[in-house]
């Protein structure tokens, strides 16, 4: 080996060593940071992150309902190509959440049927307990985008870890439906818009292609009253996706037309 080559190799080894030291320090710092953040967060990681494979549609529906855990989806049943879902919202905020849950449930059922060689449901009929139409979109196309990689367990929980200490995480979950469904709910005394900004940014950092996955982000005040809710369900609507937004009257937030 010529002297000049040895010098190059030596420089390169030096750079590698310096880089390794830098990376090691960074990894340690990030690890400490995450550990510190987790210690002050009240993260309820839903047990439905990794449920056992459902043996039947009824079992799947039960799993999805339990995964959301708020009782807004009261019942669901597949009738031919239609999925009938009864939701029980009490106000505009809970209607926003209920419609999201019904849409995710519809995708989950369709995916399950496709995976088990059955004809998937093709439409969603969402009603309230008195039989009247719910506010959700009467979906005409169902089935999640199989081209997107499924989210791994814990992805969405990680998206919430950079929130400031003034934000308490009520729940954070990565539900294994429709390719991975993120649910983040927080409480804060901060301006709701700022908290939502922080969460949305955290989610897009954790999931750069977040438009490929269903998500629900809810910011509550310290009395658990929803202030802003944003949802998105890809593939819903007529195939290109459907979103929704709720802003409590009087709250300053620019999130809809």
């Amino acid at each position: 080996m010529r002297a000049r080559d040895r010098l190059r190799l030596s420089r390169r080894r030096g750079l590698l060593a310096l880089t390794a030291v830098g990376v090691a320090v960074a990894v340690a710092a990030v690890g400490a940071s995450l550990g510190g953040a987790a210690s002050h967060k009240n993260v309820r990681v839903a047990g439905a992150d990794n449920p056992a494979p459902a043996a039947s549609i009824a079992s799947l529906i039960s799993q999805v309902e339990n995964g959301f855990g708020d009782g807004l989806v009261q019942s669901a049943s597949a009738n031919g190509t239609t999925l009938n879902v009864t939701v029980a919202p009490t106000d505009d905020a809970s209607a926003t959440v209920a419609d999201f849950e019904a849409a995710v449930l519809a995708h989950a059922v369709a995916d399950w049927q496709s995976a088990h060689g059955q004809s998937p449901v093709a439409s969603l009929n969402e009603v309230t307990p008195d039989g009247s139409s719910a506010s959700g979109l009467p979906m005409a196309q169902i089935g999640s985008d199989a081209s997107a990689d499924s989210l791994t367990s814990g992805t969405c929980e990680g998206a919430a870890q950079d929130t400031p200490a003034s934000v308490t995480i009520v729940s954070a979950a990565t539900l294994p439906y429709a390719g991975g469904t993120c649910v983040l709910k927080v409480q804060t005394s901060d301006a709701p818009n700022a908290a939502m900004n922080n969460l949305a940014n955290g989610m897009s950092n954790a999931i750069p292609q977040m438009r490929n996955y269903p998500y629900l982000i809810e910011v509550q005040d310290q009395k658990a009253v929803p202030q802003i809710i944003l949802t998105w369900v890809p593939g819903s609507g007529d195939g290109k996706g459907e979103g929704s937004a709720y802003v409590r009257p009087g709250v300053n937030a620019a999130v809809h037309g």
Binding site: G22, V25, A140, A200, M210, A245, A254, H256, G257
Partner: protein, 272 residues
Amino acid sequence: MTWTRGVTAMDSLRRSHLSITSGLRTRFLFVVVFLLAGAAGLGIAAPPASASCLAEWDSWGLNYHGVNGNDVRTRAFVQGGGAHANSCGYTWSTVGIQENPPSPSNVAMLQAGYHTQTSDNIDDCGGPGLPPAAVFEYTTHDHPAQYHCVIYGYLGSGGVTEGDLFSVVKQNSGWQPFDNGAAMYPLNLALGFSSGFSFVRGEAAWTTTTPDYYMTWGPTGTTHWQYYLTTSSGYSDVGSGATPVHSDSQDSDNDWYIGTPPSPFYIQWIGG
């Protein structure tokens, strides 16, 4: 109409990376990795790899038609010089019907038209990264503070072009939006009202830099903005009796020039 989207950080990085000769590339990457790793270790925050944000301010200007709320259809061609949010925000350029006369927000309605957003914005149409699109948005009588946005198609594909004719129609079993005569959704929407007030609406949201907005309804050579009453047998032109309304979240100034029908008329952002 011109549409813009923000240049992503990755685009900038790619360009700067490509400007480096291959002989220096390996050494450059080592240095970058080292600097980033060291900065992280020292607690120096690096810019996020990806970002999304909510708009800070929202403002709109519109014309609405009628005094009795008997409209069951409305339609207009929508075209213009541009709709650019400029800084973390979105724009809407729509035609619609709402249950009650326009108020700042939260009235049952259905509107159809164009939506744009900056590359980092997130709103009820999703994001970040939604291309300019034809969309429809609705709220219901029972839940007027719950907004639904449904993507119909992206500008330049699937029949969505500049200057489309958007319409909102009351069918027997609910409401339905159309783009150039094609149903934007195959099912009817149960919105909890059966007739209302036609409107055309320009809207922009931003965070720091104010928007550029100039859009025309019923441009020269096309049909005027029109309405259709419960008792009508056909469409009629909206005349000069339309009512202009604006809403400004940042201050109490009127940030909009709202042209007077009959068309063509334009709605333009004139705020500071």
